[in-house]
């Protein structure tokens, strides 16, 4: 959780899954909507522009309604027979696994109600498209809403590690009245590594450490733990604590106020330093009716700490309490490539 306006993308092991996210322009921080378990792929992404104007907000609602209606019109094929069979590719690259075989394609839509920017006290609903492709039968691994896109290059089953990345969308000052005069913060890409450990099947601990490039050049470390409880077959509830640490270079661009910004905004000068950034908790519930249909919802709460919470942007114009609520539905079908 760095700054604001983040979007998560899920990467999958190429040999097993490909998840792709359909991201939209200028999206704000987004959360994963589905659990691609296993490395599979999905994407999540993010919302639409965060403008306060009434019209864009109405457009979001319309888009969400249309997408949900379209999803309900998809035929409920309750068979593992492929919906589509495609011809074999004209050629194959020797270094890549063959694409022939059966693939599971997941499409869906969700909605996410989240703060306009990190530290904001107002939220809005944004549609979130879901699209994922993975090898048929490859298991979906548990994935938390805040997880970055990751690939497990080391996989002992209970211990997994590998590279991780996260995209932090730009923060446009003219999109929100609270930010007027603060100037824009460019989009950032955070790259680093993750390590997760399952002491038992139903409990996951995970840490991500990422270096920012672009909008900020600091270091961000996300810690999380999730108890993953299957209630009955197909219904899974997960919940656990979260903690984020950020360096000064990751905090200052979003929460610091220099003299020029103070003049333009009327806010006091504030030198934001790094340290404990936020603490919170999250919960997720998913219900897979059958191999085709799944619905899910989640809530993530975080309380800003340290200089992020002490920034005049938060104390005078925002809130240290940040809550994100999301839900969505997805439909999976098989595509066979000869």
């Amino acid at each position: 959780m760095t700054g604001n306006n983040q979007a998560n993308f899920v990467l999958l092991p190429v040999s097993e899954m490909l998840k792709t996210a359909l991201s939209t322009n200028d999206h704000s921080r987004s959360h994963a909507l589905d659990n691609p378990i296993e490395v599979a792929v999905c994407v999540r992404s993010a919302g639409y522009p965060l403008r306060r104007a009434k019209r864009p907000r109405q457009n979001h609602h319309d888009l969400l309604c249309i997408a949900l209606m379209a999803l309900t019109l998809v035929p409920a094929v309750a068979t593992a027979e492929p919906l589509v069979t495609l011809p074999a590719p004209a050629f194959e690259l020797p270094v890549l696994p063959p694409v022939s075989g059966t693939w599971t394609v997941m499409v869906g839509v969700g909605g996410e109600y989240k703060p306009d920017f990190e530290g904001a006290n107002r939220s809005m609903l944004s549609p979130v498209p879901i699209f994922a492709i993975r090898r048929a039968g490859s298991a979906e691994q548990f994935r938390g809403p805040r997880d970055g896109a990751s690939i497990a290059l080391i996989d002992f089953g209970d211990l997994r590690a590998g590279p991780v990345g996260k995209f932090v969308a730009s923060r446009k000052a003219n999109n929100y009245t609270e930010l007027n005069g603060l100037g824009d913060v460019s989009a950032a890409v955070e790259l680093g590594g993750f390590l997760e450990y399952f002491p038992v099947d139903w409990f996951r601990t995970r840490v991500e450490t990422r270096q920012g490039f672009g909008g900020h050049h600091g270091v961000v470390a996300d810690f999380s733990a999730d108890a993953i409880v299957p209630i009955i077959q197909g219904v899974t509830f997960s919940a656990g604590p979260r903690f984020t640490w950020e360096s000064t270079k990751a905090t200052a661009p979003y929460f610091g106020i220099d003299a020029a910004q103070a003049m333009a905004t009327g806010l006091p000068v504030f030198n934001a330093r790094g340290g404990a950034h936020s603490v919170g908790a999250g919960a997720q519930l998913s219900y897979r009716f059958n191999p085709q249909w799944e619905v899910h919802s989640y809530v993530e709460y975080e309380r800003l700490l340290g200089d992020a919470a002490a920034s005049p942007l938060v104390t005078l114009r925002g809130s240290p309490n940040q809550t994100t609520v999301g839900m969505g539905a997805s439909y999976s079908f098989d595509v066979k490539i000869r």
Binding site: A152, D201, P230
Partner: protein
């Protein structure tokens, strides 16, 4: 604008055509293959595991089931499925060597560096040599559930939830086609799940079963229901997998 545009299209076409010429498809590689040998090392033991909501002890148990003759059955069924297209010749091999080999390292880059471990094994442990290709059928390993549980080969998994639990039997295997001259892997595919509407699916042939299939009901090697269920999974999935690999006629 038109000049560069046309040039770009021509470059793309040239690269595409060149790529087609450089990289043979599996169909192309399979075409000259006539004489094949079939190797199976899947069914020497059955594992019992717990997944989902479990206690702290999640260790697995293994029981020998060599008496079931699953590998002979696999060779027999694969021979039947492939003999329409290939000339299948009997081969001898050290089954234990194929069953014991560590197929994939947990560290993915190691797999890229060391190559397929069966390449050397086919070259040294199989006779006769000199066939056009060898079909190698071995246990597959895959993740199960949302946690870190891995399942492999022939097995029984008890999946626990808060309100109920379910039992699954599985037969996870993968098939390689190894060139008889270069010993390169021409094709590799894991058997896919069978048609099923179960919300919890294993990443390969599997089905729900009741408690009578559990090892708690007695010696697994003598459990006829378990034996029949596993045999059925293999019999139903093998022709499909061979067909998906373009080795056998479409079902």
């Amino acid at each position: 604008m038109r000049g560069p545009g046309v040039s770009f299209v021509m470059v793309i076409l040239a690269v595409s055509i060149g790529a087609c010429a450089m990289f043979e498809t599996r169909e192309t590689k399979l075409q000259p293959i006539k004489r094949i040998g079939i190797i199976s090392a899947v069914g020497d033991e059955i594992t019992f595991a717990r997944a989902g909501l479990t206690g702290l002890d999640t260790s697995r148990q293994s029981f020998p089931i060599g008496s079931w003759g699953l590998d002979d059955l696999i060779v027999q069924q694969a021979t039947a499925a492939l003999s329409g297209r290939f000339q299948v010749q009997p081969v001898s091999y050290k089954r234990a060597a194929f069953a014991m080999i560590e197929k994939d390292s947990p560290v993915a880059p190691v797999n890229f560096i060391r190559g397929d471990p069966f390449k050397k094994l086919v070259e040294t442990e199989v006779s006769p040599q000199g066939l056009d290709a060898y079909i190698v059928i071995t246990k597959a390993k895959a993740n199960f559930g949302g946690g870190g549980r891995k399942v492999e080969g022939i097995g029984f998994v008890s999946y626990g939830t808060l309100l109920a639990s379910s039992n699954h039997v599985h037969a996870l295997y993968e098939i390689r086609v190894i060139d008889g001259k270069t010993f390169d892997v021409i094709e590799k595919m894991a058997a896919a799940p069978l048609d099923s509407a179960e919300p919890v699916r294993l990443p390969g042939p599997s089905r729900l079963v009741d408690e009578s299939f559990s090892p708690r009901s007695g010696d697994p090697a003598r459990n006829e229901s378990l034996h029949r269920a596993i045999t059925d999974l293999i019999a139903r999935s093998l022709p499909t997998t061979l067909s998906d690999m373009h080795l056998a006629e479409t079902r």
